[in-house]
Amino acid sequence: MRFSEIKDHLSGFRVGIAGAGGLGSTCAVALARSGVGTLVISDFDVIEPANLNRQYYFTSQVGMLKTIALKENIARINPDITVIALAEKLDHLNIPEIFAGCDVIVEAFDKDDMKEMIAETVQTRMPGTPLVMGSGLAGWGKSETIKFRKIDETLYICGDESTTAGDEMPPMAARVGIVANMQANTVIEILMKKTRDYFRQ
C-alpha cells in the first residue's frame, strides 16, 4: 500500500491522547506525520526546562501550556491535522465526554495512579474503545525488555512493565520515544484494520 493511500485512510479517524508529556507529545507527532485526521489532546501542565530531555517541545516554548505548544508544533509538521487541545485535568467523569467519538485512546500519563484511573474509566465506561497504554519506560538501554502486548481487542500495553520512573531512574528521550512510537504504531495498526465511517458528521 502506498503512503498516499495510508494517509488518506488515516485522515478519517479521531484519536484521543491523554497527556502531552514524553509519551503523548512524541506519539502525537508520529500520528500527525502519518496523517491521522483528528487528535484530541488533553493536558493541564505547562512546559518546564526539565521536560525538554524527552518531550517534543522547544526552549522558546518553556512556560507555555503543553497542549497549545503541541498544537503549534503539529501545525508546523502537518497543517492538515485537526488538533483539539484541552487544558483539562482528566478524571473518570470528563474522560468519556472529552474522548467521545475517538476511535482509539492513547494513555500517556506520567503517574501510575492516573494510568490505573484511565484504564478503569475507558474499559468500564467506554466499552469497545481500544486503549493503548505505556507501562515501564524509565532509564536507558535494555531495549530487549521493551515489549508490546495485546491483552484483548480493547487493551494494548507497550513498555517493559517493570521499571518505575524516579530521580535515580529518570525517563529519557530514547526509551520513552521507543514506547511512544510503539503506541503510535499500535494506533496505526488498529486504524488500518478499521473501516472508515463515511457518514460520520
Binding site: E116, A119, G159, T163
Partner: protein, 67 residues
C-alpha cells in the same frame, strides 16, 4: 482450582478466591495495576467482592510510573 493467569495455566489452592486473595497468594505486590477477568476489567474497589472461578481467564498488568 485451575485458572488461566496471564496466558498460563495456573493451579491455585482453594476455590472461589476473591481478586484480593489471588493477588496475595501470587504476591502481586506492585500497587497500580489492571485486573481483567474473562475480558472484564475489575475496578479496585471490587477486588474484595469479585470472585475468581475455576476456568476463568485472568489478566494482571502492572502499571509503572513514567511518561
Amino acid at each position: 482450582m485451575k485458572i488461566i493467569l496471564n496466558n498460563r495455566e495456573e493451579e491455585l489452592s482453594g476455590e472461589n478466591l476473591s481478586v484480593s486473595e489471588m493477588l496475595k497468594i501470587k504476591k502481586f505486590s506492585y500497587k497500580m495495576r489492571i485486573v481483567k477477568i474473562n475480558g472484564l476489567l475489575i475496578p479496585r474497589e471490587e477486588y474484595e467482592s469479585t470472585i475468581i472461578h475455576d476456568g476463568d481467564n485472568v489478566q494482571m498488568i502492572y502499571l509503572m510510573s513514567g511518561g
